[in-house]
């Protein structure tokens, strides 16, 4: 999927363990507007399931998730 909207904010949670990627994301998503995109970078392998679960719980949308080497990238759209 190609996303044309620019990313409003980036959270670099590389090197951080659970629950920091999710907690930092939750703090950052409060600073952007509804419909805005948030990009999260993480190296925690557990973060993939965490982000799926987290978006299900919160209602924010997981637009894209990918992995490049050992870096996971999640693109989220604020509800």
């Amino acid at each position: 999927m190609t996303v044309t909207t620019p990313v409003a904010k980036v959270v670099d949670a590389s090197g951080l363990s659970c629950p920091l990627p999710i907690v930092k994301t939750a703090l950052a998503i409060r600073e952007i507007g509804s419909g805005d995109l948030l990009e999260v970078l993480a190296t925690d392998p557990g973060s993939t399931k965490d982000f799926i679960a987290w978006t299900k719980t919160t209602g924010h949308e997981l637009v894209e998730s990918s992995v490049d080497g050992n870096v996971f990238r999640y693109l989220l759209r604020k509800k």
Partner: protein, 185 residues
Amino acid sequence: MTATLTRPILPTALVEGLDDPITDGAVKTKELVIVAESGDLERTWATTILASTAAAGEMKVSIFFTFWGLFALVRPEVRVTGTNWMQKMLAVMNRPGIDHAKLSKLNFAGMGPWMMKKLAKQYGVAKPGELLEMAQALGVRLIPCQMSMDMMGITADQLIDGVEPAVGAAAALELMTNADASLFI
């Protein structure tokens, strides 16, 4: 720069086991109450990890700090709490403040917690104090137990900012019975 191939993750394969009835976008706010009774480092860690994660998941979270758990709410610069010698001795033997929590096992006069914190740093794990701050920023309610404050001689001005007024067991039980999940840690 080397071109690296970006491998997409297929959500369908990973969603397995995470299915729940919430699919229509109508998300009900869930409530979690943690009774933080222990002042041990590992338990304080569990409390702050769960509280911050739950709050990140937009759950309504309250932590009721009682007995040894209450020391986690004491400001870091407060060395001794209490007014009589017994209360003071308690604080001297068990230094208040979340950063001074000891391990229940393998404490080795502080070597254990020192090693745990070193490992935590190495693996990018936040310390309980940092998690508590983030939890507060995410709206977690920190509620001290009045009886524990009285018995240990801890005053409201010795507690960190943002702590709610102290309550009793009945108020704590009301929170617990209305919550979706309650934990005693």
